[in-house]
Structures are given as C-alpha cells and as structure tokens.
C-alpha cells in the first residue's frame, strides 16, 4: 500500500509517495501553470506511469489547488501538512515551521507532531515568494539567482511592504545606479524581516526553527532568517516537499 500526497501550490505542484512504513519512495515537482486541473491530471499520468494506481485510494491533496485534484480522496490544508511533513523530514516532533510559499507565508508551531498554533499572512503578498518573484523580474533575474546574489550585497533597505510600492522603490534604486547585489540584499532583507515579525507572534521558545517551502533551497535566506530571529534556522533538501509528504501522511 502506498500513500500519495499532492501539494498544488500557486507556483509549483509537488508530489510525494510514501510506503506504509513512512519511507519516502518518490518525490517530484512541476510548475502549476495556469490550470490546477490540468496540473492534477498530468500528476495523475506521471503517477500511473510510475506504477502507482491513483484510483486505488490513499491520495490526499493540499495547497491552494487542493480541491482541483479529481482523484483525491481527502483534502487537508497546507498548514496541517507542512507540520506533519516537517516533523517527518526533520525527525522531530516539536518544532517551529516557517513555510515561505508562492502566495502565503505561514509560521506553524508544532507540538508532538501536531499543529498547536499558526499565523498566516493576509491578502498582502509582502514576505512571500510572490514578492521575491516580482522583484527578481524587475531586476531581470531568476528568483534563485537573486537570493544567491543577495549574499554579496548590503546597505540597502526597501521600506515599502506593499509589493507594488516596493517595486517602484526597486526601480528608483536601479535608476540611481545602485549595485544589483545591494538591491537583491534589500529585497531578501525585506522578506526576511516580514517573515520574522510574523513568526515572532508565536512563542518560539527553544524550539528548533525549520524552513520549508519553495525558498528553503536558498542558503542565504536561511542565514538571514537565523540572524533576524536570533536562532539557528535549518533546512533540508526535501523541505520543499514537506507539504506533499505531510499530505501523504494524512492519508495513513
């Protein structure tokens, strides 16, 4: 028996397959594109090709496109899934999960592997992957390039939290001839400050803070977040699959 978790986020769709001993046997991702339904169908095809019969049950979907998966048996929110997934990936049951997603950023307090409390940004996209994407676009770079470059910059801050205003701030920095790495630094700094202020609304205590979601592959974000929160923030190469893994676990 296999358990399948599908996390359809705003930018990418992640799939995880676990066996009954909670071993992760399959992980893959793809861009969500403009149609969650098409994405779900394509995931279904890939799974069948790999020999997993999605019609046999055990499929749990999560993420903002969770209702678009026709062969899903159950939907669970990404908050619950990230908590469960992170607990498995990081091998600890008490932790604080920060998930910087494409559209939402969540800070989740996990106790005994279960959600104890959480905060999530409202409509505003400050401190989310979307903010990074828009700024990277303005700087004619890929988001991951921007993150890497930010490490080499400094001394620039972007004060607007609103993505639209921040974009014009970036444009005027470009106009002033500010170095690209400094602008990149300012962008990442803005995200990190916003995310940290959200996380601080919860009682972090001496819990291990972990970063999941799309941005966790960028070491620099982890470093900057550690500095801002004054505690070591760790990540994992399977961190971006935490939601999908948690979804698979929710089916057990």
């Amino acid at each position: 028996m296999y358990y399948i978790g599908i996390d359809i986020g705003s930018t990418s769709a992640k799939t995880a397959v676990l066996d009954e001993n909670k071993n992760i046997v399959e992980l893959f991702s793809q861009p969500t594109g403009w149609s969650s339904v098409d994405t779900a169908e394509s995931i279904g095809r890939t799974l069948r090709e790999k020999g997993y019969m999605v019609e046999d049950g055990g499929v749990v979907s999560t993420g903002y496109g969770r209702v678009a998966v026709p062969f899903s048996n159950k939907t669970v929110t990404e908050i619950t899934c990230h908590a469960k997934g992170a607990s498995l990936v990081f091998g600890m049951e008490d932790l604080m999960v920060i998930d910087i997603g494409g559209q939402d950023t969540k800070a989740i307090l996990v106790e005994g592997g279960l959600v104890r409390d959480f905060v999530m940004n409202d409509k505003c996209s400050a401190g989310t992957g979307r903010f990074l994407e828009v700024m990277a676009n303005t700087l004619a770079m890929r988001p991951d390039e921007l993150c890497t470059l930010a490490k080499h910059g400094g001394n620039t801050s972007i004060s607007s939290l609103c993505t639209v205003f921040a974009e014009s701030e970036v444009i005027s920095l470009i106009g002033r001839g500010e170095k690209k790495e400094n602008i990149a630094f300012g962008v990442v700094d803005s995200i990190v400050r916003k995310v940290a202020s959200q996380a601080r609304r919860l009682q972090i205590g001496d819990r291990q803070v972990v970063l999941t979601g799309g941005l966790c592959e960028c070491d620099y974000i982890c470093d900057a977040l550690s500095k801002e929160l004054n505690t070591r923030v760790i990540t994992h190469k399977k961190g971006r699959y935490a939601g999908a893994i948690g979804a698979a676990l929710s089916g057990m």
């Binding site: 209702v67 159950k74 939907t75």
Partner: protein, 95 residues
Amino acid sequence: MEEIKAKTKDINYYILFENYTHGLALEKLLKEEGLRARIAPTPRSIQGKLTCGMSLLVLEEDIEAVRECIDRHQAKYYSIVEMECQINPNRNVFC
C-alpha cells in the same frame, strides 16, 4: 477536511407569484398537506417584470405532488419555472 459537494439535485422548480400574499397562502397550504417547499428569493434571471421577490423552491421529486395540490385547490400562482440548480455552497461569492 472533505469539501462539501455541490448539490446533486439537478433540477429545481420555482413557483412565482404576483404578490407575496399568494405566495404565503400556497406555502401554508403545501405545509398543511405535508408537501415540501421552501421560501426563496426569486432568482433574477426568471423574475422578469414581477415585483414579488419571494418564490417557492420545490425539488424535482416533489413537483408532481405540488402541482396536483395546486390544481386541487385552484391555488393562485403566476408560473412554475424549471431551472437547473444554481445553488453552490462552494462558490464563495457573497454580496
């Protein structure tokens, strides 16, 4: 969390009235006869020139009995409109 599925009852019937006095009278009558009908705001797409905002919503499985009851009592109504169920609790569009 399982999503609540949209209603599976595909066809709804709306009984329209010239005024709510007729509407309330029929509602009372149907209730007395143990027939199901719910007061509903008339969907604008079928309201036409009628100014009465109330209608009676009847499910497909009940409509024959309701028609029969109306005929038997010569109850006043304007028309009965058949329409695909528009009710969707997952739409999340409010007013």
